[in-house]
């Protein structure tokens, strides 16, 4: 049997992910993933970074954090001093955790069978999941621009739904 030695992600895919995130920080895309959320911490200069991105699938959480910090460091050498929490999350993980409660849904029965509509949603960052195509956002505000673009192309086809995530104390 031949011996196949694979390199760990640490040395292969890591650099590619850092580079992609760095590119996104330098020139943010108008739509799609990764979705980078910078959350201010109190009234300090610190901010937590959450990156929702399906490229994280199979990447351990600790490595995701290091990749995010590497990308920020490349973007701004002092950033590590400002980021207490860096967390990478896939869309599925974010949905389970209730981090993406706002979704844009197609209101027209059967419209999702239309490739043009589907592709438009995918271009905007929708991900295929067990529950079908999911185009989700943390807040209504975050989804407004996407909704307006879709509404312009397909008037009356889309609407917002907000799921309430109740946490007991």
């Amino acid at each position: 049997m031949p011996v196949i030695k694979r390199k760990p992600l640490e040395t292969t895919g890591r650099e590619e992910l850092v580079e992609q995130l760095f590119g996104e920080l330098r020139v943010p895309s108008e739509k799609g993933q990764p979705l980078i959320l910078e959350q201010p911490v109190g009234e300090t200069e610190n901010f937590n970074v959450y990156v929702i991105w399906d490229r994280w699938a199979g990447v351990p959480h600790s490595l995701r954090a290091r990749i995010i910090l590497d990308a920020y460091r490349r973007f701004d050498e002092t950033s590590e001093q400002k980021i207490p929490i860096a967390s990478g999350i896939t869309t599925s993980e974010a949905i389970v955790e209730g981090l993406l409660p706002v979704k844009i849904v197609c209101l027209v029965p059967g419209a999702l069978m239309d490739d043009e509509v589907r592709n438009a949603m995918i271009e905007e960052g929708a991900m295929e999941s067990a529950g079908g195509l999911q185009l989700r956002f943390p807040t209504l505000e975050d989804g407004k621009a996407t909704f307006q673009r879709l509404e312009t192309r397909f008037p009356g086809n889309f609407g917002f739904v907000e799921e309430r995530f109740v946490s007991a104390d």
Binding site: Q39, V41, N48, I85
Partner: protein, 170 residues
């Protein structure tokens, strides 16, 4: 007649010192269960020991920075108020009652909000260890007949041990 075990007069209330002692006890009991081959029960108790240490560290810091008695009661309103600060501290969601990952992030962010951050490597490790645990521990495990794999027991034990070992620095 002795006071019954479930009577609050005997169990007392949650305070930092009580959580610290209970965390030590649960951890020692988990070691015994693990050695005896009761993996799920061991994970169950290791998880609680880590949860108590994370919360004790949070409230020890919170009480100190507010100039309050370190033995103050950690009651429901205090826990609820702490969790309710999630948005101000830059977290995406409110930590649930046994949410070790959420409370670990709350601890890190709380310190950062008062410009009393851990060293960056320590911040990463607090969150990382809590995540390793949270992926394998949930309080509802007690209702399940699962048998964990050996590596799952090991990871949870190591994570709980990390919080035990590093508690003085948290």
């Amino acid at each position: 007649m002795p006071i019954l075990l479930a009577d609050p007069r005997r169990t007392g209330t949650d305070t930092v010192p009580i959580l610290e002692r209970a965390a030590d006890q649960r951890s020692a009991e988990a070691d015994i269960l693990r050695t005896a081959g009761h993996g799920l029960a061991a994970i169950y108790l290791y998880g609680y020991s880590a949860e108590m240490r994370i919360k004790a560290a949070y409230f020890r810091f919170d009480l100190r920075t507010q100039g309050l008695d370190p033995q103050s009661v950690i009651d429901h309103p205090r826990r609820s108020s702490a969790a309710g600060q999630f948005a101000m501290l830059g977290l995406l969601r409110r930590p649930g009652p046994h949410d070790v990952f959420g409370w670990a992030q709350l601890l890190v962010a709380k310190r950062a909000s008062l410009s009393m951050r851990y060293a960056p490597a320590m911040e990463r490790e607090v969150v990382n260890q809590a995540k390793l645990l949270a992926d394998r521990w949930i309080e509802t495990l007690r209702y399940r007949p699962n048998t964990p794999y050996g590596h799952e027991v090991r990871i949870v034990r190591e994570s709980a041990a990390w919080f035990g070992l590093n508690y003085p620095r948290l």
